[in-house]
């Protein structure tokens, strides 16, 4: 297709540049103009981090063909603090603590700027509606709403501009103070460079070929057509790994690229480094892989059945890790209980959905040190593993942690850094890989889906006598953090309660599903969901208030845990009191408590407003 000549005004400057018709406005801004403040989060108009103004209108630049920019005025996040001074809204984001990882923030600031331009008197509910097209995974949005309200009030003169200033602690006591985040100015202005924003001279672009099969033997890989393509500088497969090919957090069972067989859909099979991303993608498509599909297993229960397909030869029973905890005699404890409650619980797989998809760069430096720059949550461990994989001493491997656009455990796995290192070594040039959102979702770890059977024996007065707890979790195709997740699930699952007889089993299982791995709350979420739901069922059966049953059973100072560790101070009683008091809790048995009808009655807490239902013309009201 013919090239376009784009003439536009970008951040107040006239530009005239050639562009490919296939480019999106986002590519043009980020790749051609090197304005990397606005990010790509999803490439599908869902997350909003690429939001810019086109002729003053908020637009998602990933949805706009570059041709639409012809003759327009485009303003990116870089336009807001052009003089070096942050806008009122950016200052308010800084002051309110509205940025965390910062990756969504450029788009969020643009959307909030648009909101206050549309209605300088927008109330909180309207602000929520107007930010509804922007996803943030870190903050929970509340501090973002606070920031927009603060900016609105300063702009309208209702609050003095000094409200945006930082704090000065008297006596230099800075612990316990709301010091404004030191990294926030770089995030609200879009200046912070994440790995996908970084460039190196002479840099190549990487594309990964991924498995279309859940379980298949690799009969052959023919890379000759890809290698022969113009612009292709290097193609790698597992044959290019010089050392011990394995990574993982606890067991190193995952090869850098599939070796002999693939175990899940989306597993890396080969990778290409080329002069531009399009050539890399075309070359990857030209790699011929012959697969022999194998019977696959898609649930943890099926994987535990005798005769199930074996995912890893070293684990013929498909068990990644089983963690047992034993206290007392659980069957005797259940037998002597007044009441035994049994229930099953299920939790689903969850995607981390950090707004920054995986990205990284690698190069070999002047001393022959292999350097990898990526938003890895664990560079210390990664360098140990990579040193073995590329058969170099640890001093010849260097990992640099780039700013992380959200992790939540999902960036603890060395899922792509090995390929980057191998391609940098093979081509002798810097290489960069940026995942698409689809690639990130399909190929990286999830929260372990789980199935739990819980039997709890209680006495009539609410005391727990015995707990038998068994959780089976689908760890997917590779070990990653499964062992640790099972351990934390087991140690914490029965809750901070005195339980004289406990039998706890957590079992992580291999399947041919997307691997499960580390995810914020790491097994404790799945198991404590079951226990805390179960306690409320017990309340209903025993006629107890939910706070009361927890107080009856809670560990106290000096308690012994389920793993027989003696604790000193135990604060569960304090947090129960604090939550009960702050929420204005109405005592009573679940489902039978009164107080739902008269939420505004005397002595009762006020009704909570239902979120995001702004009605009426607030602009009009404010003007009056």
């Amino acid at each position: 297709m013919a090239e376009l000549q784009i003439k536009a005004t970008v951040n107040g400057r006239k530009i005239s540049r050639s562009a490919q018709p296939s480019q999106r406005l986002l590519d043009f801004i980020r790749d051609d103009l090197n304005l990397t403040g606005n990010k790509e989060g999803c490439g599908a108009g869902e997350c909003g981090t690429c939001s810019v103004f086109v002729d003053g209108v908020l637009m998602k630049s990933c949805l706009l063909p570059v041709a639409k920019a012809q003759g327009t005025q485009i303003d990116t996040i870089e336009s807001l603090a052009k003089t070096g001074e942050l806008s009122v809204l950016q200052k308010a984001f800084h002051k309110a603590g509205a940025s965390q990882c910062g990756y969504c923030i450029p788009g969020m600031v643009m959307a909030a700027t648009a909101a206050l331009r549309s209605n300088p008197f927008a109330d909180r509910e309207e602000i929520k509606e107007r930010l509804g097209g922007n996803i943030c995974r870190c903050t929970g949005y509340q501090k973002i709403f606070d920031a927009v309200e603060l900016a609105r009030d300063v702009q309208n003169g209702r609050l003095p501009a000094t409200m945006l200033d930082g704090i000065d602690a008297e006596q230099g006591d800075y612990i316990g103070k709301n010091v404004s985040r030191i990294d926030a100015p770089s995030k609200v202005s879009g200046k912070l460079k994440y790995a996908g924003d970084m460039l190196m001279p002479d840099m190549l672009h990487v594309h990964v070929l991924r498995s279309p099969h859940a379980h298949a033997r690799i009969l052959s890989i023919d890379t000759s057509a890809a290698q022969a393509m113009e612009g292709v500088e290097g193609v790698i497969t597992s044959a290019d790994v010089p050392g011990e090919d394995g990574f993982g957090v606890f067991v190193h069972d995952q090869p850098v690229m599939a070796r002999d067989k693939v175990r899940y859909v989306g597993e890396a099979v080969a990778a290409v480094a080329a002069e531009d991303p399009l050539i890399a993608r075309r070359a990857a498509a030209a790699i011929k892989v012959v697969y022999e599909p194998l019977p696959a297993v898609f649930s943890a229960e099926d994987a535990l059945r005798p005769g199930a397909p074996v995912v890893h030869a070293y684990a013929p029973d498909n068990i990644t890790k089983h963690i047992p905890i034993r206290v007392g005699d659980v069957e005797a404890g259940l037998a002597e209980s007044d009441l035994v409650i049994e229930e099953n619980y299920e939790t689903q797989a969850i995607e981390h959905a950090y707004l920054e998809p995986e990205a990284g760069l690698a190069y070999v430096d002047h001393d022959g040190v292999v350097v990898v720059i990526s938003p890895s949550q664990n560079i210390t461990h990664h360098r140990h593993m990579l040193a073995k994989i590329i058969a170099k001493p640890i001093a010849k491997v260097r990992f640099i942690m780039s700013p992380v656009g959200g992790g939540f455990g999902g960036k603890e796995d060395m899922i792509y850094q090995g390929m980057l290192a191998l391609l940098a070594m093979k081509t002798g040039r810097p290489v960069r890989l940026v995942f698409t959102r689809e690639e990130s979702i399909a190929s990286t770890a999830k929260r372990h889906p789980s199935k739990t059977t819980l039997r709890m024996g209680l006495m009539r007065d609410g005391r727990i006598r015995a707990v038998a707890f068994r959780m089976i979790a689908d760890g997917g195709a590779y070990g990653l953090s499964t062992e640790g997740v099972m351990r934390k699930a087991a140690i914490l699952g029965a809750g901070p309660y005195v339980i004289p007889n406990l039998q706890m089993d957590t079992i992580g299982v291999y399947t041919n599903n997307t691997p499960s791995g580390a995810f914020r709350s790491f097994g404790a979420l799945q198991t404590q969901f079951a226990t805390e739901s179960h306690l409320d069922i017990a309340c209903e059966r025993l006629g107890l208030d939910p706070f009361e049953i927890r107080r009856i059973n809670m560990m106290r100072d000096g308690a012994t845990t389920h793993t027989k560790q003696k604790l000193k101070s135990v604060s569960i009683g304090r947090v129960l009191d604090a939550a009960e008091k702050a929420s204005g809790w109405e005592k009573g048995v679940s489902g039978q408590r009164n107080g739902r009808g008269d939420l505004n009655g005397e002595g009762l807490r006020p009704a909570v407003a239902l979120g995001a239902r702004f009605v009426g013309d607030t602009k009009q009201e404010a003007a009056e």
Binding site: G132, G172, D173, Q348, F408, A524, S583
Partner: protein
């Protein structure tokens, strides 16, 4: 009967830093020219605010302002090991070790000034960029103090390491000491359930968490609020689905995440039960923040409409089905009672 409200609660506990293994971290500190400071440690922000927390701790310990603290990049070839950004360990492991390294650097500076002013080192105070000796007229800026040190051939630096006294678990009964610091939390959820559509809206959350000692209360709130909203996602809408190993939720159009319209009013209550082992008393908040949210919401749904959702997520379809089944059961019982 269209919209019913209910409240539920749940408690939690959590261990701080790596589990059932010895955790460790190291840091270097230097009080630099002009009264600024350098902290070098293997840590980088993953969004939680650790850089600000470390700057506050270093400023507090060395007598500077947080904006005068420069924190070096996390680089395995340039910074001492501080290991991974996870396991609710950064404030505890790295915060504590930065405090120790900062104290050592300050000690070097104080030693020089005590000799220069002929006072006891214990009478020297530092704060907000100044150094002074109690009950004297001696007071200089930190920049001047560093100059004095350097004229006497001393660069005020410190280094420290911090490790945990923990063990693995016994393979048979699980006995062991997995962590040296534990935190506890409790959350109350208020929900509204639409009995026509099955839709659940979380209206309010009250979250009380013990964090040991809050270095930056607003940052703690940010962790709690972010944790709650992620947990609302898992409780009500998020579901990574597979069909024969192929995902059917490949992008954000299919994989539904909480947006600003799903956010309840969140109230954080910070409880401080200081850790007796570390030098600062800090513990952590990242992961425990989202542990009690889901059961609190499920217990609130039960309180509102009398159905118990035991399989996540509590989608409108699932809630509606449970409500209908409950009504059918009640109708049958009524019919039986009438007969």
């Amino acid at each position: 009967m269209a919209r019913m409200r209910g409240r539920g609660m749940a408690a939690c506990w959590y261990g701080i830093a790596r589990t059932a293994t010895v955790d460790r971290a190291a840091a270097w500190a230097e009080i630099d020219d002009g009264g600024s400071a350098k902290i070098v440690t293997g840590v980088t922000e993953i969004g939680e605010g650790i850089l600000t927390v470390l700057a506050q701790i270093a400023a507090h310990e060395m007598g500077l302002k947080p904006e005068d603290v420069v924190i070096g990049d996390n680089d395995t070839a340039r910074a001492p090991e501080a290991a991974h950004a996870g396991a609710t360990r950064q404030t505890y492991m790295i915060g504590n070790v930065v405090a120790l390294a900062s104290r050592e650097a300050r000690g070097k500076l104080v030693e020089v000034l005590a000799k220069m002013w002929e006072v006891e080192p214990s009478t020297i105070r530092t704060g907000n960029g100044f150094v002074w000796a109690e009950n004297t007229n001696h007071k200089i800026t930190m920049g001047k103090a560093v100059e004095c040190c350097k004229q006497r051939g001393v660069v005020p630096v410190g280094s420290a390491t911090f490790g945990t006294d923990t063990t693995g678990l016994d393979g048979t009964d699980g006995a062991g000491r997995p962590w040296q610091a534990y935190v506890f939390g409790c959350q109350v959820a208020e929900v509204e359930v639409d009995t026509v559509t099955g839709e659940v809206q979380v209206l309010g959350m009250w979250a009380a968490h013990d964090v040991g000692r809050a270095v930056n209360p607003k940052g703690v709130e940010g962790q709690i609020e972010g944790g709650i909203v992620q947990a609302i996602g898992q409780a009500l809408m998020e579901d990574y689905e597979l069909s024969n190993g192929h995902t059917t939720t490949p992008g954000f159009a299919k994989y539904i995440l909480p947006t600003s319209l799903d956010v309840p009013m969140m109230n954080s209550i910070i409880v401080e039960d200081p850790d007796p082992i570390g030098p600062l008393g800090v513990k952590g908040i990242g992961e425990p923040a989202m542990v009690p949210t889901i059961p609190a919401i499920m217990n609130a749904i039960y309180d509102a409409v009398g159905v118990r959702i035991t399989s996540l997520p509590a989608t409108p379809e699932k809630v509606l089905m449970a409500i209908r089944e409950k009504q059918q059961r009640e109708n049958q019982m009524a019919v039986q009672a009438a007969e």
